[in-house]
C-alpha cells in the first residue's frame, strides 16, 4: 500500500496579517495536496504561498500560491509535487482582516 498521511497544520487558529505554519517533514512523500477550509472569515480572503526547505531552517518560496477562502465552509487547495524535505505555508491576509482556517496537508508516497 502507498503510505499516506494527513497533517493538520492549523486547527482554526485565529489568523491576521502574515502567518506561517510550522515546518512539516515530507521527505517520504511524492505528492501533496494542501487544503484550506474557512471556519470563520470576514470575507477578505488573502493568499497562501508554499515554502520549501532542505533543513527546516532556511526557506524559499516554491512558487505555488492560491487564494484563501472568502466564506465559511469554502475550501481552496493546491497540488504539489517535487518539493524538498520540509514544507510550510505562509498566509497573507489583507490589513485588518481576521479569519480561522482548517489547514490540512494530505501527503502520499
Amino acid at each position: 500500500m502507498r503510505e499516506a498521511h494527513t497533517a493538520i497544520l492549523s486547527r482554526a487558529e485565529p489568523w491576521s496579517g502574515t502567518v506561517t505554519t510550522e515546518p512539516y517533514e515530507a521527505a517520504w512523500a511524492g505528492e501533496a495536496v494542501i487544503f484550506v477550509r474557512a471556519v470563520e472569515t470576514d470575507g477578505a480572503g488573502g493568499e497562501i504561498a508554499t515554502c520549501i526547505s532542505a533543513d527546516g531552517l532556511h526557506w524559499v518560496d516554491e512558487g505555488t500560491t492560491f487564494r484563501l477562502p472568502t466564506k465559511a465552509g469554502e475550501v481552496t487547495f493546491a497540488k504539489l509535487s517535487g518539493f524538498g524535505h520540509y514544507l510550510r505555508f505562509r498566509a497573507t491576509l489583507p490589513d485588518g482582516a481576521n479569519a480561522r482556517f482548517m489547514v490540512s496537508l494530505a501527503l502520499k508516497e
Binding site: L9, A27, D55, L57, H85
Partner: protein, 307 residues
C-alpha cells in the same frame, strides 16, 4: 543428512527467545510474551500515531488552551543543515514530535488502543532528543523535558474502576539550568467541562507542575557535542494493568526504583474509556526554539493467557 546427534530440541519458551534474538528488528528489545504493537516508522509508516487534541463541543474554541499548540507527528529523516539526513537507528525514518518555538511549548502524540486482558504490559523504545539546530552552539540545556505517559482505564465491570495515568519524564533542564533526572507525576490536575451539554470534560494532566524526582533517578544521557548529532537511547516502562502501578523504569543501563513511583489515579473512572490503553509521548522546550523527540522504534507488549 545430519547425524542424529547433531539435532537440537528447543522447547517453546526457548524457541521464542531464540527467534527474537535472531530477528534484527526485535533482538534489541526484551518484550513480554505477547507483542501488542511494534512500529519502526521506516517500514510501518505512522502506524496509528497521531496528534492529541483537547476535547471540545460544537466549536474548537472550547479546546482548553493547554492543548492548542499540539500538532501532528512527522515521519522524519532528521535533516540537518550541516550534515544532511541523519536518518534513524533502524532505517531512514523515525517519528518526530516537535514543539513550537516558544519557551515552555509542549507537544504530545499518542497511539490509541485497548487491552485484551488486564495484565502486565511494557513499552520499549529507541529514541533521541534534540533542540532545533538554529544556533552554532552546544544548546544542551534547550530541551526542557521529554517523556512517556500511559492513559489507562479499568474494564467495564471492574468492581472499583479507575482511570490511571502513569506519567514519567526526563527533566533535562529548567530555565537554562541542567537537571538531568527522571521524574513522575501523580497529582491530578483539575478537569474542566468543555461546551454546554455537560457531557464532555477535559483534563490537562501533562502540565509542568507537580512532578517529583524518581529516587536515584539522576542520569546523564549522550547529548553529544552538537544539536545535529543524534545518539539513540533505550527506554523501558512496565505497568501492571491490575494494580495500575509502574513495575519497571529503565533507560539504557539505569534501572530505577519503580516501587517509589506513584500513578496518577482518577476515580471514579470516566464514562467512555473502558479498557483504554493509550501510549503518549511528549517533549517540551526550555527556550524559544523548537525541540524534537525522535522515536526510531517502539514496541508494546503484554503477558496474558488466552484461557
Amino acid at each position: 543428512m545430519p547425524r542424529r546427534e547433531d539435532s537440537v530440541t528447543i522447547e517453546g519458551a526457548d524457541l521464542r527467545r531464540q527467534m527474537l534474538m535472531a530477528n534484527p528488528g526485535l533482538s534489541r528489545f526484551r518484550p513480554l510474551p505477547r507483542i501488542i504493537s511494534y512500529d519502526d516508522f521506516s517500514t510501518s509508516g505512522m502506524a496509528g500515531w497521531t496528534s492529541l487534541i483537547g476535547n471540545y463541543e460544537d466549536t474548537l474554541e472550547n479546546v482548553l488552551p493547554e492543548f492548542r499548540g499540539m500538532y501532528a507527528p512527522q515521519l522524519s529523516v532528521a535533516n540537518h543543515w550541516d550534515t544532511g539526513s541523519h536518518g534513524a537507528m533502524s532505517g531512514s525514518y523515525s517519528m518526530k514530535i516537535a514543539t513550537r518555538a516558544h519557551k515552555g511549548a509542549l507537544n504530545l502524540v499518542l497511539k490509541r488502543m485497548t487491552y485484551i486482558e488486564p495484565c502486565p504490559i511494557q513499552v520499549e523504545m529507541f529514541f533521541a532528543v534534540k533542540p532545533e539546530a538554529n544556533e552554532l552552539r552546544l544548546s544542551d540545556a534547550d530541551v526542557r523535558s521529554f517523556g512517556i505517559l500511559l492513559d489507562l482505564q479499568d474494564y467495564d465491570g471492574h468492581p472499583q474502576p479507575r482511570r490511571a495515568m502513569p506519567h514519567l519524564k526526563y527533566l533535562n533542564a529548567m530555565d537554562g539550568e541542567l537537571k538531568q533526572r527522571w521524574q513522575y507525576k501523580s497529582v491530578t490536575e483539575e478537569d474542566r467541562m468543555v461546551g454546554p451539554t455537560g457531557e464532555t470534560r477535559s483534563h490537562p494532566h501533562f502540565g509542568s507542575e507537580g512532578w517529583v524526582d524518581v529516587p536515584g533517578g539522576e542520569q546523564r544521557l549522550c547529548y553529544n557535542e552538537l544539536p545535529t548529532k543524534l545518539n539513540w537511547h533505550y527506554l523501558r516502562l512496565g505497568v501492571d494493568l491490575r494494580s495500575m502501578r509502574v513495575t519497571a523504569l529503565q533507560c539504557n543501563d539505569k534501572r530505577m526504583d519503580h516501587d517509589a513511583i506513584d500513578t496518577m489515579m482518577l476515580t471514579p473512572a470516566w464514562a467512555n474509556l473502558w479498557s483504554m490503553l493509550n501510549v503518549c509521548l511528549f517533549c517540551e522546550t526550555d527556550t524559544d526554539k523548537r525541540c524534537f523527540f525522535y522515536v526510531d522504534s517502539i514496541l508494546v507488549s503484554g503477558d496474558w493467557d488466552d484461557a
